[in-house]
């Protein structure tokens, strides 16, 4: 029973950071129509913010995480202004530009921090015991932050003027423009939020992984599986698919094998595509 609970706790943590990353990716795609392949590198930059501010410069951990959120959000604004806005009418060019940008971010990380993994001491070694399962505070931070941030995002999108503008642009950009909604402004907001979510995920998990300039590769693959399963463009789908994928992957790893878990994860994606090609929560394509 302890093993089951421990696995469930492990899966909850995994679902939390995966949801943050996937929702950020969906935000950018949904509003701007761009597949941001540099999303994994935004996660990496968030992690390195903590490497620099917390591990090297001894700033408080939560301050470093907040700085990571804002800094990566700002990078998102730069990406929107310099890459995605000029290429707005050509999503494929935007995708290619994002691949170029990820290589730039990787190279800058190598120049700034070297090729070796960054060392981040834990901000706390405290832990909880829940029904025999161990949950460290470090992991609890990630879970709590994910719940709070995703709840805040949901509220923002539902209740605020800017949130409604985002949804309107995502539904029909032309009609939204005719109503006086600025496409540039909504794109900026979407890009900032999407990038910041990836950045905060990287910053929060930095003490729990081994940050390297190349860590974004494995992150982006998982994120794409999740948003394909959830339905490309669906925020709710991204969250639910993150939970589903994390639980399946974690349980299969624990009870079978990590390699088999990857195969099962991909099989899950293929099964969803076969049975429901739009993903679990995706909308049908318009004619």
């Amino acid at each position: 029973m302890d093993l089951l609970w421990q696995t469930a706790v492990n899966a909850t943590y995994a679902a939390s950071y995966m949801a943050l990353i996937a929702v950020g990716l969906v935000m950018i795609f949904g509003v701007m129509g761009v597949i941001n392949f540099a999303h994994g590198e935004l996660y990496m930059v968030g992690a390195y913010c903590v490497v620099f501010l917390y591990a090297q410069e001894n700033f408080p951990f939560l301050l470093a995480v907040a700085a990571g959120l804002v800094f990566v959000g700002m990078i998102g604004l730069v990406m929107e202004r310099t890459m995605f806005r000029p290429l707005r009418d050509n999503p494929l060019a935007g995708l290619i530009a994002s691949i170029g940008f990820l290589l730039i971010l990787q190279t800058l990380a190598v120049f700034g921090f070297g090729r070796r993994m960054g060392h981040v001491p834990p901000s706390t070694q405290g832990k909880l015991e829940i029904l025999g399962a161990v949950l460290t505070y470090q992991r609890l931070f990630v879970i709590v932050a994910a719940v709070l941030l995703l709840a805040a995002l949901w509220t923002f999108l539902r209740r605020s003027k800017f949130g409604r503008a985002l949804r309107a642009c995502a539904q029909d950009a032309e009609a939204a423009s005719l109503q006086g909604i600025s496409m540039n402004q909504t794109a900026r907001i979407a890009m900032f939020i999407g990038a910041a979510l990836a950045g905060v995920a990287g910053a929060l998990t930095a003490p729990l992984v081994s940050p390297t300039p190349y860590i974004g590769h494995s992150i982006i693959v998982t994120a794409f599986i999740i948003i394909i399963v959830g339905g490309v463009g669906s925020l709710e789908g991204a969250v639910i698919a993150a939970v589903l994928y994390a639980f399946v992957h974690t349980f299969v790893t624990t009870f079978f094998d990590g390699v088999i878990a990857n195969i099962v994860g991909l099989a899950l994606m293929l099964a969803v595509l076969v049975v429901r090609p739009t993903g679990l929560f995706g909308a049908k394509e318009r004619a």
């Binding site: 899966a11 597949i35 290589l103 993994m117």
Partner: protein, 436 residues
């Protein structure tokens, strides 16, 4: 935001198609950036074809850094004497990023464009890329992983590290000194480094009478969250956690997870690169007694008689001075020690040509391995006697510092337990005649 709303400008099919295309493009990109080097006629170039970036860089880059110290020291003394002429040594690095295709490109470039006389590799998955080039060109290559050896590769030698065979010495020492520990659990990344090492540890545990509580757990090399892996390992309450030959990127979070999930038993691992960082993430008490196979070279035991590595303590001090003490890793000294063997063989051969050096290297069936005189060995395991095998150190962390506890003989273990090793290597498809 409506579930139907985020869906415009690009169709799902286009999304999937372009994602796949972009993924392929991304996989094809990368920067195997060769170093341009210039040398005069009294300089011999040596190729260094190893991962200098990426997750396996910890077993490449520190080795090149060590080689640069070796070259500076040798060149300051006038170089290597070959056929009555002194030659300076210059290293030409090529970052293969632990990628097969880049290894092939790098091998070709180093031979055709740079004119190197010898190429050192980490090996493993990347040897498959360099192998056709080695066979075609007759170039002398070295690997740190003798599991790359086969009768088809007559110009490949493993003159320093006999991974994973030396792992038996750690288990043997553990069984002798902590006989009360009777059960073990093990995990490894699913690749050419992990699998033969798993077979070796399985053989060593069986030889020592230590029972596995569960089958070895393989994980994908792209894994970043190790909590599930550690949960599974600890589920059987093993006396010993074996981390196999996991990369540093995995050993650190695995140890951290073991600490966080409350493990209190023995840990054994092939490596513990940058172990000071692991101690910082866990505690000195938790890491006390951690067994691995790679000493810090400031260890006094390396000054004992029979050690062939030149000035190990000074080498370590210079390394720490140049790159920082925390940069020292498992391979920091290994490629340099291979260069000691190469220089000795080239001097005796009176030539730097690959065939002549190889012949001189293996002339009397023995060689001056870093940890003592060793034999060229391996026919039963690798199909060819191209591995230099002798003693290997067992290292234990005590009071936050790695210390050599013993030098143990690999051939002596082999003589007693070779059937076990061959059985487990065969079961995992790791014998030389099982590899495609």
């Amino acid at each position: 935001m409506s579930r139907k709303s985020l869906h415009r400008k690009i169709s799902r099919r286009k999304f999937l198609g372009t994602s796949a295309a972009a993924g392929a493009a991304l996989a094809a990109t990368g920067t195997g950036l060769p170093r341009v080097s210039f040398a005069d006629s009294h300089t011999i170039k040596i190729g260094f074809l190893a991962p200098l970036t990426g997750p396996v860089a910890a077993w490449g880059k520190p080795g090149l850094d060590g080689c640069l110290i070796w070259a500076d020291w040798v060149n300051a003394k006038g170089g290597v004497s070959i056929g009555g002429q002194s030659y300076n040594i210059e290293f030409v690095g090529y970052d293969n990023e632990y990628d097969v295709a880049k290894a092939r490109t790098g091998a070709t470039k180093l031979i055709k464009e740079d004119g190197v006389k010898f190429i050192m590799m980490l090996g493993g998955d990347t040897w498959a890329g360099a192998q056709p080039v080695a066979e075609r060109e007759g170039m002398l290559f070295s690997t740190l992983l003798p599991s790359d050896l086969s009768p088809d590769s007559t110009t490949l030698v493993a003159p320093c590290e006999v991974h994973p065979i030396y792992n038996v010495t750690g288990v043997e020492w553990l069984a002798e000194n902590k006989p009360e520990l009777k059960t073990a659990a093990m995990c490894a990344q699913d690749d050419a480094l992990g699998k033969p090492s798993v077979a070796t540890y399985l053989a060593a545990f069986e030889a020592a009478g230590i029972e596995m509580v569960d089958a070895p757990l393989f994980f994908d090399p792209a894994t970043t969250d190790f909590a599930p892996v550690m949960t599974r390992l600890m589920a059987g309450n093993p006396d010993i956690l074996c981390l196999d030959t996991c990369y540093a990127d995995y050993v650190h979070p695995l140890c951290e997870q073991a600490f966080q999930q409350g493990y209190q038993g023995q840990i054994i691992s092939c490596t513990a690169d940058f172990y000071q960082n692991i101690i910082e993430k866990t505690s000195e008490e938790f890491m006390e007694g951690f067994i691995f196979q790679f000493p810090d070279f400031d260890d006094p035991a390396l000054n004992s008689e029979g050690i062939n590595f030149v000035n190990p303590n000074e080498f370590y001090a210079e390394y720490a001075n140049r790159y920082g003490a925390s940069a020292w890793g498992a391979v920091s000294w290994e490629y340099a020690s291979i260069m000691d063997l190469w220089a000795d063989a080239a001097t005796r051969a009176g030539s730097a040509e690959p065939a002549a050096v190889l012949e001189a290297m293996k002339a009397d069936g023995t060689g001056k391995h870093a940890f003592g005189t060793a034999d060229w060995w391996g026919t039963e395991l690798f199909g060819i006697d191209n591995a230099l095998v002798g003693n290997w150190p067992v290292v234990v962390i005590e009071g936050g510092k790695a210390r050599i506890k013993a030098f143990k003989s690999i051939p002596a273990w082999w003589d007693q337990h070779k059937d076990l090793m061959i059985k487990h290597m065969t079961d995992l498809g790791q014998m030389w005649n099982q590899q495609g």
